[in-house]
Amino acid sequence: MDDVKDVAREVLTSILPVVVLVVILQLILFENPGYMVIQFIIGAIMVTLGLGLFLIGVKVGLLPLGEAIGAELPQRGSLPILLLSILFIGIAVTAAEPDVRILTHQIDYISAGSIPKSLLIAFVAVGVGLFITIATARVVLGVPMSYILIGSYLAIFTLSAFAPPHFVPIAFDSGGVTTGPMTVPFILALGVGITSVLSGKDSLSDSFGFVALASIGPVIAVMLLGVIYG
């Protein structure tokens, strides 16, 4: 029951202030805001309930799953199997991320279908999968985080020169949304499990960096999509 209470508080504190602010703006800006305010509040109630249920599901089922896989996997399989599994887990988790669904839907809608939702989700998901695989390999090989960061950002800015201009903002935004309420806890659980088994040493600084790399992968993937597509 504590889980439920925590989730309820978490969801309400993050949604309520925005709802209040929006209703105030609606009342100031529009002449007859009645219908709009009601529509917005109904939507907000659905969002609150939905996000709450979703987070409870994540806590009850998906996080223990992430931890179990993170703890078991490095002990059983060889390194190639480990890396391959992580690739697929990354793809699956990203496909389930609510923020990714919304961004890709918005882009599909505003580009009038010229950048289709399913293609974008596929690229974003593969981007996350590949980069958390790299994050794992980094822990195994002991490469400093800053090398990978500098390399990745160089790649991003080089690609941005070749991608069509309207892909650039979309690509950068994709990096931000992959780290939503589903991915962050799942990847953190997985990362902490893996680093504690693999490195044995102080896992604090190593397990960090998983989330950072998960948000760089999709930027590169979507830029590449732009270079190919445009």
Binding site: E10, T13, F54
Partner: protein, 227 residues
């Protein structure tokens, strides 16, 4: 649909590797069910309420004669969302721990909130005045990479991880729709080109904030050693 890949992976791992007891399996399956229902409801609510409202508000703001008002409103929205984001509390706590108490949780919260609020305000200014996204992002990341050179390594990982915290579900739903609305309401702006990019800006702000605190921390530690 969206949870299908996860379900398949779970079943595969369960049979090949994990072999969790039945009790666990039941818990995980129930969790997946809950997530599925929750996600559907959430997306319905976003499509019915948050997206249309955000877009309409944005368009209305952009049509005002004093359309620069979108900038302070963006600032305010940014501040409200970041202060309400639960992940931010976890991060500030983490940084206090990493710095051995040198970086106070409260100071961190103020730095971060100010950073995110300013970045969303800048994102709005970018749309209204038509500044290309890269003009803002490229120097920002360059600055970040420069600061990486001088920051303690633990701060580097935490900083880049923290980029994620400011962009929770509220940023992805409401704030993004608001920006797209402002872009489509402003003459001469393409909502596709100019409307997106706000989340990217909001991701950069916490990175810079934490790295800055890392530098301050390093300075203080050097002071301590001098004594």
């Amino acid at each position: 649909m969206s949870l299908l890949p996860l379900l398949i992976i779970f079943l595969l791992f369960q049979f090949l590797l994990l072999k969790l007891p039945q009790e666990e399996v039941k818990r995980i399956l129930i969790g997946i069910c809950f997530s599925f229902i929750g996600l559907s409801l959430f997306l319905q609510g976003v499509h019915a309420g948050f997206l249309p409202t955000g877009t309409l508000l944005g368009e209305q703001l952009a049509r005002l004669r004093f359309n620069w008002v979108a900038i302070p409103i963006g600032l305010l929205v940014g501040l409200v969302t970041v202060l309400a984001e639960p992940a931010v509390r976890i991060l500030t706590h983490e940084v206090e721990k990493v710095s051995g108490g040198h970086i106070n949780q409260q100071i961190m919260l103020y730095t971060l909130s100010a950073g995110v609020a300013i970045s969303i305000g800048m994102a709005m200014a970018r749309i209204i005045y038509g500044i290309p996204l890269l003009y803002l992002l490229a120097p920002g990341y360059l600055l970040a990479l420069l600061m990486v050179k001088y920051s303690p390594p633990t701060f580097v990982s935490v900083a880049f991880d923290s980029g994620a915290v400011a962009t929770g579900p509220m940023a992805a739903t409401f704030t993004m729709a608001l920006a797209v609305g402002v872009a489509s309401g402003t003459a001469g702006r393409d909502p596709l080109m100019d409307g997106f990019g706000l989340i990217a800006m909001a991701t950069l702000a916490p990175i810079l904030s934490v790295l800055l605190l890392g530098l301050i921390y390093r300075g203080r530690r050097l002071d301590d050693e001098d004594r």
